[in-house]
């Protein structure tokens, strides 16, 4: 897991003055994701765990034959190489349309700003996620806009020792919308249906679901941290059919990002949305109202619930319902515990 030393090895030779960079210039593991995840198309990454000579020529910056400069020089060079690969289409996507290079190079760095600096997210229990096997991550859903799903995937990627990707499942409504649907697909999302869920789990992926769906994110602020109905428990039967352990997750903080005070039904129907939110800032301040409030976030992963012994009960409604209820109870209790730890929603 050691970072490649090609970067640092050259550094002092040319620019000793710049050798003492603040540590955040090199975040512990910034854009070098889990190449060992087992589900990567190829090690087609600009900087991997392999020395530069071993990488295929196309991956190196085109000007790499010149003696290397300082950190900025390398940054410019790797950005240019990234742009060239993007513009010439020389990258891989998987059958779901997941584009790891774009996710690591563009999506995660942007989301990380929100995750670290804006929401000051704290994560506990990451050890409950399997190191390379499949897992079904089930979390509460809240906050009008599904920011919690994005933050959860950053949490999994950044905190997990192997930097695994969380493959989110989204309602079909998400895939009806242009632009949004493609962003979701490129970041690893899939349609919340049995074939997709089971396909991902059989491939050994970590799959993220929010069984409350739109009922969860579209609830009023007065109902914050009250879990909504878990639907038919389809996520449980998908886990049972593939024998995938279920990891319950409680997310605290998303409720306060866009506190929903009201819902304009007329506009919702007009725009074909499940709801049209009214928050303290939206729609009053226009686009400024889209800035989420800087609440303090806590994410806790609970112990996995094994399902391998229940594979034959995937169609038994009683078993499915009981298990869904157990997951729901676990998340609800964890939410209460986390809330007690965080009395002030906007604490530092």
């Amino acid at each position: 897991m050691s970072r490649p030393d090609i970067d640092r090895g050259r550094q002092p030779a040319t620019e000793p003055a710049r050798a003492t960079l603040p540590p955040e210039e090199f975040p512990a593991d910034p854009v070098h994701p889990a190449q060992r995840n087992g589900h990567q198309p190829r090690g087609d990454r600009p900087a991997g765990d392999q020395p530069a000579e071993d990488r295929p020529a196309g991956d190196r910056p085109a000007g790499d034959d010149e003696p290397a400069g300082d950190v900025w020089d390398r940054r410019v060079a790797s950005t240019l190489a990234f742009l060239r690969r993007r513009l010439s289409g020389q990258y891989d996507v998987d059958e779901f349309g997941f584009d790891p290079e774009l996710t690591d190079g563009v999506f995660y760095p942007v989301l990380r700003l929100l995750y670290r600096n804006w929401f000051r997210t704290e994560v506990t229990g990451i050890e409950h996620l399997s190191s390379d096997g499949a897992g079904l991550v089930v979390a509460n859903h809240s906050g009008t806009v599904a920011l919690d799903a994005l933050m959860l995937s950053v949490a999994v990627h950044d905190q997990h020792p192997r930097h695994r990707y969380l493959r989110l499942l989204g309602a079909d409504l998400v895939f009806r919308m242009p632009v949004v649907s493609e962003l979701v697909r490129k970041s690893g999302g899939a349609v919340a249906c049995h074939p997709d869920a089971e396909r991902l789990m059989r491939a050994g992926e970590l799959v993220g679901v929010f069984p409350e769906g739109f009922k969860g994110i579209g609830k009023r602020y007065t109902e914050r941290y009250k879990l909504q109905r878990f639907g038919r428990g389809g996520f449980v039967s998908a886990a049972l059919r593939t024998g995938t352990p279920i990891v319950p997750v409680a997310i605290v903080g998303a409720e306060e990002t866009y506190p929903m005070l009201g819902d304009i039904k007329l506009f919702a129907r007009l725009f074909k949305l499940p709801y049209f939110p009214v928050t303290p800032t939206f729609p009053w301040f226009g686009p400024l109202g889209l800035v989420p409030l800087p609440s303090k976030w806590l994410i806790e992963f609970g112990p996995p619930i094994p399902t391998a012994h229940l594979v034959d009960y995937a169609d038994d409604p009683l078993v499915v319902f009981n298990l869904a209820d157990q997951v729901r109870e676990t998340i609800q209790q964890t939410l209460h515990r986390l809330l007690a730890r965080r009395p002030d929603p906007f604490a530092a």
Binding site: P61, A62, D73, A77, R84, G97, D99, K186
Partner: protein, 354 residues
């Protein structure tokens, strides 16, 4: 199968006036284990295909003889490829449907009355899965379309597969293979889709970047050949493994994508016309909004044959169409080197001053 007689007696290939069927017929004729290859088509093959078809007997089937022709020819195997994917200059949409649907119905009725027949191979398409935003990401052979497709070709395909299912029920003794082909591509393929990618400026649908899969023409021929030479009853997805998104394919081809507004805003017909598919229409448009990816596990395990990947098939197509390239890897690498050198120069200059 005794002594020196070929393993397969007579193979009838329909639609030999078209490129794919003519190639299949030629390939089968070159196979020594196949006795006789008869091309069946109501029209004469295009002059360009005459050399390809020199070892293939040609029979012009009219509507009057259609119902008995398979029995009259004493066919062992029928390969049904007389399915057109798009209306063209000679065929309107009505004629295309006539050929696809009525043609298949008559042919299968004729097959049903052929006592010697032991194998039927039908060309279908991955369009059988339709296209909708509710679709699962990857289609297996068992996936049912969520809604009736809007496109004419896709609806024809559903009808054709319906007839094939009916035939299977009535003649369980005949080995029936249905091949759902992904869009064909390759250095020699000439389809609506290859013409689309050959344009220097390629229109796409705004806010959509569908996942596409292709099958290389040579691999499609190989699978069709094996379906005749070997026994593979059932329905199979035939596509190259892996996925290219439309934007990625356009970039690899060195073309420039121009996004056009979504159908809901400007009217499906307008978009189809802008994309240059006014005769192809909604089939292609749905593909370019929703994309289509199929699972080929069954093909690979049953046939023991893995077609080249979608990316490799597309590369082969690009190599055959170098003209019209706006951006390519070398030019980009050159630009990259140039910009990097400039920046280094500028920074060195700044450092000297400091």
């Amino acid at each position: 199968m005794t002594g020196d007689r070929p393993a397969t007696g007579t193979v009838v290939v329909t639609g030999v006036s078209r490129y794919l069927a003519a190639q299949v017929a030629a390939r089968l004729a070159a196979d020594p284990s196949i006795g006789r290859v008869v091309g069946l088509d109501p029209v004469e093959p295009a002059p360009g295909l005459a050399t390809v078809l020199r070892d293939v007997e040609h029979v012009r089937a009219s509507a009057a003889t259609a119902l008995t022709v398979i029995a009259d020819l004493d066919a062992d195997v029928v390969v049904h490829l007389a399915i057109s994917t798009a209306p063209d200059q000679q065929h309107s949409r009505a004629a295309m449907k006539e050929q696809n649907v009525i043609g298949t119905m008559q042919l299968l009725a004729s097959c049903q009355r052929a006592p010697r027949l032991r194998k039927l191979v039908v060309r279908s398409s991955t369009a059988a899965y339709g296209a909708s935003f509710r679709d699962p990401t990857v289609f297996t052979e068992e996936t049912e379309p969520r809604e009736v497709p809007r496109g004419g070709f896709a609806r024809d395909i559903l009808d054709i597969e319906g007839y094939a299912r009916g035939f299977r029920r009535r003649r369980p003794d005949v080995i029936a293979t249905v091949l759902r082909l992904a869009p064909l591509i390759g250095s020699t393929a000439d389809t609506t889709l290859t013409r689309y990618f050959a344009q220097p400026i390629v229109p796409t649908v705004l806010g959509r970047d569908p996942r596409l899969q292709f099958i290389h023409l040579d691999d499609a021929l190989a699978v069709l050949h094996r379906s005749v030479a070997e026994d593979h009853p059932g329905t199979y997805n035939v596509a190259g493994a892996g996925v290219l998104t439309l934007s990625q394919a356009i970039r690899r081809a060195g073309r420039v994508a121009v996004p056009v507004l979504e159908p809901g805003l400007s009217g499906a017909a307008g978009v189809a016309r802008a994309l240059g598919f006014d005769r192809y229409g909604l089939d292609q448009l749905d593909l370019f909004v929703h994309g289509r990816v199929v699972d080929t596990t069954r093909l690979v395990s049953e046939y023991g044959f893995a077609p080249r990947t979608t990316a490799a098939a597309f590369d082969d197509f690009i190599r055959a169409h170098p003209e019209g390239t706006v951006l390519n890897g070398e030019r980009l690498a050159l630009a990259e080197r140039g910009i990097l050198a400039r920046i280094r120069q500028a920074r060195a200059a700044v450092r000297e001053h400091a």
